[in-house]
């Protein structure tokens, strides 16, 4: 997690005020490092999938990196996150290492979940990361319950409960929104609206296309946010967190984003036009934040190059680690099904 470090507007700035950084240099470099790490991790994962090192489903986060970066920088230690199955970026944002995440994708015993969860299910109690959930929308009530427990225990923590635009059409959302508001639970609902539920565009799934409006039905403060810039995500999450921590209950952010790749690797994305994809490529969050930093004159190309070089080496190392790690031993099949150590499984 990155500490808040908003710059005072009146601090001396050598550069043209039009281009000066809205936040500290350290903040931008931290955002950039995480976004670039997620981007390179996902590119390496796609390559490994094509090499059949990774199997099963693989849903990558490319295009949505600014959300993980902006969000983490606005949270405090103790806050929890739960999300859906497009979750590598969220887990890395929480602090899971690229090594253990890549090893998980490779199905290896050294993975963040010992090779038992795969692409959709990274979990880390250490980082209060309640995982990637593979059932669309099921994490919405669970995240509400995580927040319930925080309130029950009397902490100041909140639970960020993330889901996609597809999940926003599940009934579970409405039940969770209703109880979250009724009981004033410390939960930040975040819809990462990448505009496609697999191959079905938001425009085809409901009469209500501004998803944030669903929160209004429960009198929940609800806003739309630009998800291509870490600054806007940071500001929105920060503001929402203040509201939530004051005991007023949930807040809902619909963060508009775009996924550059298909729903999963098997999806060629024929439901989108080339022009649409191209228009979003121009808004690539990684490229945009690079431009903001360089335009400010406060950050040099050399500094970015150094980050890039270090992260490329880190990802290369992660792939090597994953590749060389062992698969789980066969007896691991019977571990972690029950906490009870001597549970009598039916074996014949």
């Amino acid at each position: 997690m990155v500490a808040e470090s908003k710059k005072k507007s009146d601090t001396s700035t050598k550069k043209n005020s039009k281009h000066k950084l809205a936040y500290s240099k350290e903040q931008y470099l931290s955002w950039y490092e995480l976004m670039f790490r997620i981007r390179k991790f996902e590119e390496a994962a796609l390559l490994a999938y094509n090499q059949q090192k990774i199997r099963g489903f693989l849903h990558v986060y490319i295009g949505q990196e600014a959300i993980a970066a902006g969000m983490e920088s606005a949270l405090i230690p103790g806050d929890a996150i739960i999300t859906g199955y497009r979750q590598h970026g969220t887990a890395i944002g929480r602090g899971c290492t690229t090594k253990e995440c890549m090893a998980e994708l490779f199905g290896k015993a050294t993975g963040v979940n010992k090779g038992k969860g795969g692409s959709m299910h990274f979990f880390s109690k250490e980082h209060k990361y309640f995982g990637g959930n593979g059932i669309v929308g099921a994490q919405i009530p669970i995240g509400t319950g995580i927040a319930f427990a925080e309130k029950y225990k009397g902490t100041n923590n909140l639970c960020v409960t993330m889901f996609g635009d597809g999940a926003a059409r599940q009934g579970a959302l409405h039940e969770a929104f209703n109880m979250g508001m009724t009981w004033k639970l410390p939960v930040l609902y975040v819809c990462e609206n990448n505009q496609y539920a697999m191959g079905t565009s938001v425009t085809r799934t409901s009469n209500v296309q501004d998803i944030y409006k669903l929160g209004l039905a429960y009198d929940m403060p609800s806003e739309q946010v630009d998800g291509m810039r870490p600054e806007s995500v940071y500001e929105a999450v920060k503001k929402a967190a203040v509201h939530i921590r004051s005991g007023k209950g949930p807040y809902f952010l619909e963060i508009k984003t775009y996924r550059y790749k298909g729903h999963s690797v098997s999806d060629p994305g024929h439901y989108r036009t080339r022009e649409e994809l191209k228009s979003y490529m121009e808004k690539d969050p990684v490229k945009m934040v690079e431009k903001v930093m360089l335009d400010s004159g406060e950050i040099t190309q050399e500094e970015l190059d150094n980050i890039q070089t270090a992260i490329k080496a880190e990802i290369k190392e992660a792939v090597k680690f994953a590749d060389e790690s062992p698969f789980p031993a066969p007896e691991e099949l019977y571990t972690d099904n029950y906490s009870q150590p001597d549970y009598p499984f039916m074996k014949d």
């Binding site: 319950g145 427990a149 029950y152 579970a172 039940e175 099904n337 029950y338 009870q340 499984f345």
Partner: protein, 328 residues
């Protein structure tokens, strides 16, 4: 030395003792607080524990089951009451896809110590949607433990074990047995999950059953006694894990088995028990295993159809006569 309690009182005592023992235990469900429980199982609990720990929910089974799962993953020990297991079908996603799988998905990082409980099975003329049993459905799912019992002493000891268990537990009770009385020990005790009880010893045939069918089986056993047939009656109490050892040991003594199961016949608890016995007591069997289930139909409303649908002592006696070759 014991006291006589109704099933609902025994369950309440068990829950209340655990709530006094552990601050992290709370109960949530429809009408559990201000209404004192749809079947009065939670009567008085709001007064003792307050609204923080005895929580009325809106009618949203999927939502509050999911909130329970999240709370359990984050350190609490929820007891989620369903007004009936029939309504829990709306929440099966959370029970089957999440509670049961959290430990495996997270490779042991996140436990899910939660109890889902409520009445299961028929309860008079409640018709198709309010009369189903779910032991087979949930017993089929690794990651869950499933209890089904109506004996007050057992229910109290088992719900206490369930609340203390670090794994998700589904507990099936019975609407029409909440007033059923039994002797309950005065001192604190636990009943272990996964252990069956021999309710009646016998030498000629083993009858295996659970939940309220124990009543029908005991009636049948008494009548059979008069007919010169000595029946041993086993109450499973826990459906998953299954105490096949107690069953197999009994059949190895009696050489004959009848399974009485209010679930539907196909792919059910009765089929599993028959499998276990053919696997581990094949050489002892003197007759094919016979089962008595509810009819392989939905349960209609009319009384004659209810009577035709459910197992009863007559059907059980007929089954016993069949395995003892007295049905000529």
């Amino acid at each position: 030395m014991g006291k006589v309690l109704q099933l609902r009182e025994a369950l309440r005592e068990g829950m209340a003792e655990e709530m006094r023992r552990d601050e992290n235990v709370f109960i949530m469900g429809e009408e559990v607080a201000e209404y004192n429980g749809a079947y009065k199982v939670t009567k008085g609990m709001l007064d003792e524990f307050g609204a923080k720990r005895v929580i009325d929910t809106p009618i949203a089974e999927l939502g509050f089951a999911g909130i329970g799962v999240g709370a359990a993953m984050n350190g609490l020990r929820p007891v989620i009451e369903f007004m009936t297991w029939n309504f829990a079908v709306l929440a099966f996603d959370q029970i089957v896809n999440n509670a049961a799988k959290t430990l495996s998905q997270s490779a042991g990082d996140f436990k899910c110590p939660i109890v889902f409980r409520g009445p299961s099975g028929s309860a008079g003329q409640l018709a198709q949607q309010h009369s189903q049993t779910f032991e087979s459905w949930l017993g089929n799912t690794p990651g869950l433990k499933v209890i089904s019992c109506i004996d007050p002493a057992d229910a109290k000891g088992l719900i206490k074990s369930a609340i203390r268990d670090d794994d998700p537990v589904c507990m099936m009770e019975s609407e029409i047995m909440y007033g059923y009385k039994g002797e309950v020990p005065e001192d604190e005790y636990l009943v272990p999950i996964g252990v069956a009880a021999v309710r009646r010893t016998g030498t000629d045939v083993t009858i295996v059953t659970f939940n309220k069918m124990i009543i029908e089986a005991m009636k049948a056993a008494e009548e059979l006694e008069g007919m010169g047939i000595s029946a041993e009656v086993i109450d499973l109490r826990t459906i998953r894990p299954l105490d096949h050892k107690t069953i197999v040991e009994s059949v190895r003594e009696t050489d004959r088995l009848v399974v009485v199961d209010e679930s539907w016949p196909l792919y059910g608890v009765s089929a599993e028990i028959a499998y276990e016995v053919q696997r581990y007591a094949f050489d002892y069997l003197d007759a094919p295993v016979v089962r008595v289930n509810s009819a392989d139909t939905s349960l209609p409303y009319a009384p004659t159809l209810v009577a035709g649908y459910l197992p009863n002592p007559e059907k059980i006696i007929e089954a016993v006569r069949s395995v003892t070759y007295q049905n000529t």
